[in-house]
Amino acid sequence: MTTGPSSSVAFVRQALVPAAPPPPGQTGAMRWVRENLVSSWFNAILTLVAIYVIWSVLSGVLPWTLNGIWNAGSLNECREIRDARGLETAACWAVINERWLQILFGFYPTDDPLLARVFYADAYAAAGGYDAVFGAASNATDRIAFVGAMKAELGNLTIFFFGYWRPLVALILLVIAVAPILYSSLPRKMLLFSLAYPFIAVFLLWGGSVWGPVTVALGLVASIVVARSVSAQSSALFGGLASILFFALFFFNPLGVLGVQGLFPLFPHVKGVFDAALPFGITAIPSDIFGGFMLAIIIGTSGIVLSLPLGIALALGRQSSMPLIRWVCVTFIEVIRGVPLIVWLFTASLLLNYFLPPGTSFDLLLRVIIMVTLFASAYLAEVVRGGLAALPKGQYEAADSLGLDYWKSMQLVVLPQALKISIPGIVNTFIGLFKDTTLVVFIGLRDPLGLTNAIRATGEWNGIYWELYIFVGLLFFVFCFFMSRYSMYLERKLRTDHR
């Protein structure tokens, strides 16, 4: 190699050549199109076909959706407006505009006295105030006329926010109660509110005396206190038995078989004392007028919350080494899972009454919630069992070798791993459960689909299908989509294997 300026090398580049832009067709949108849409002649054909399909669907659906008519009193009015505008097709969203409250809440009553006092005060005073319009001696015909005139003037949004404040507050509190369970970054003290929430929700939705739910809560707390204090003095077994005895005396009448009435259960006595001391309550609403999407949320959330612990217990029971527990769990799971949900719902609504002692008809909604919970828990048990089976045997042995007893080894070692594996399956079951709530339409509860039938039965809206079904479908989609996104978040968060 020679050195120096007088070398035979004609040209030496002193600086780097600036990076040239990639050749056209290898960047940006062009490249994406080439790689993804027309990478081969076969893909190019598929792309053309796909574009044609999308175009033909959208060109049909979009004008129909976007040109929709929002203000009309009936389907025929919709058709007249459409013809007047010279449109070929147009959705008649007016039915949603008029009836969305009914689809959301069914025939759940609005708080008419509140609406009248706040938004319709002049006419309310003119009609004679509370006693004349809503009092015990008032005439139902006049009241319905008054409420009808008031609602026509207020508009649906006012009625939504103030007339339905009870279910709305219950829903907002539900979000607050569920948040600490879903997101572990929130303060743990919020869990106390989550525990209290079921009682608050029952009070808000069903109304009646506030002391009903409070007394139930006190009874449950007292059972736990009894268990703790007796266990501390003697053994855990006696603690459990004492707790069960207290629970039975508080909520049931074990002496009923002997014909002793009146003393037990303690529940009405305690509630009576409270009611006499400090009567407070809101209008009681029987559950047979619950309906609409609210009903789906009530059944869905109760079913989800109750079936998870039950399903885990059943899964553990099925793997138990004690034959009795194992057989009971296996039988339960196979029987419940082997029969369609609709049959269980019919059982709950029609047949259960014949197996219960005469006169003890309990709430249809409660019966449905119990059936849906049992059904979902049988499925969950199998999902969780899948998670348990996927854990290597070494994990169980490791927990045992640490000297952990059964419950501790499950709680600290096995279940956290098994449940993490099962998350997609669990959420799958939950979404299925939530959508299955529409089946209650067959036993006379007014779920959103049942309400679309009722709305269609009116002279104004007979013959309208798509608009109602799309609205109900969207409501369900929003909830199911949230559940699915949450499960993906949870899986990402719990991923510890550094894949």
């Binding site: 005439n139 019919f346 609504s349 006379g444 049942g450 039938n453 039965a457 007979n462």
Partner: protein, 339 residues
């Protein structure tokens, strides 16, 4: 329906032991509301408005009973029942009266332990076809495809009709009236068959109703009426005579507009006087106030008014009176005399 008969029988068997109540009237008066088993939604017969108030032909009868017993036509709690649950609910005492377009049949009246107390609407199964099919009689429907709701009596009636007339058809099974409407409109079947009132209500919703015609043949008898439980004749009397009061009011020209005036003083027609309680003590014989029929007619109108405002020719459903005209006008509605 087979299933409902089974469930109803079960209901009656289960309740026969403990249920010998003749107390419905006292129960209703103590409760202050009438529990009326109603349809979940049937155009013209029962449907909720935007405020959740029920309206319709059957609903009006419920309101009439409430007006008779309680003096307040709105004091009704409507319990929507499916065709599977309706008879069980009545037998189990969940409703006081069932006014849910239920056909009065032998087995329901006897085996199920129900009492049908009258007929508020004479219906029958009919056929609807497109006008451009050029058919003027159901006997010309040889080889037609027919949309038919499965599991109903209409399915059996259809088979009978085609067999008797020695013509063939191809059934297209549908689950609900809504589905039937859609299938028929989409051209999946040439003929749609169900009760004529339902066909009329369906036809009224079509954009071009004149392109469809309901054929003149009626192939079955469907007398629809209110039902009560066996063994409570007092209550059955109240329901029956409320229905007759509505029809008698029409016969004697008593309407919601003039009833107050006619009831203010005895008229020179003793029939009207007895109906409205200005003469005699007919209300007291049923355990009701003497002006019970005045309350009924003032709040819901007479039978003809109820018919015209809910399903009559000026409504979208547009049914003619036909069989449901009074006997004086050549129909079948023959109210028993108030005497």
């Amino acid at each position: 329906m087979k299933k409902s008969i089974f469930l109803g029988t079960l209901a009656v068997a289960g309740l026969a032991a403990g249920f010998a109540s003749a107390q419905t009237m006292a129960d209703v008066q103590a409760r202050g509301t009438l529990k009326c088993g109603s349809n979940e939604g049937l155009a013209g017969f029962a449907a909720p408005d935007a405020n959740g108030n029920w309206q319709g032909f059957d609903v009006s009868l419920c309101r009439a009973i409430a007006a008779a017993v309680l003096g307040d036509a709105q004091a009704v709690e409507f319990v929507p029942l499916t065709s599977q649950t309706r008879f069980t609910a009545l037998a189990a005492g969940e409703v006081d009266v069932l006014v849910r377009n239920s056909t009065w049949t032998f087995s329901r009246d006897t085996d199920l332990g129900l009492d049908f107390v009258g007929v508020n609407y004479y219906d029958g199964q009919g056929f609807m076809v497109r006008t451009d099919l050029g058919v003027s009689s159901a006997t010309e429907l040889d080889g037609a495809t027919v949309c038919i709701q499965t599991g109903t009596t209409t399915e059996l009636n259809l088979a009978d009709f085609f067999r008797v007339n020695n013509i063939s058809y191809e059934p297209v099974p549908v689950a609900t009236n809504a589905e039937g409407q859609q299938q028929y409109l989409a051209g999946a079947c040439d003929v749609y068959t169900t009760d004529v009132s339902g066909l009329a209500a369906t036809r009224a919703t079509f954009e071009n109703a004149s392109e469809h015609v309901i054929l003149p043949e009626i192939v079955s008898k469907e007398p629809l009426g209110p039902a009560v439980r066996h063994g409570d004749s007092e209550w059955g009397d109240v329901v029956r005579w409320t229905l007759y009061a509505l029809m008698n009011a029409e016969e004697y020209g008593v309407t919601s507009a003039n009833v107050r005036e006619l009831a203010s003083a005895p008229t020179n027609n003793p029939e009207i006087n007895r109906l409205l309680g200005t003469e005699g003590e007919l209300g007291a014989m049923m355990g009701l106030s003497n002006d019970w029929a005045v309350n009924v007619i003032a709040s819901v109108g007479n039978y003809g008014e109820i018919f015209e405002s809910n399903i009559g020719e000026n409504t979208p459903i547009g049914l003619a009176r036909g069989l449901n005209a009074l006997w004086t006008d050549g129909g079948l509605q023959y109210p028993m005399p108030f005497r």
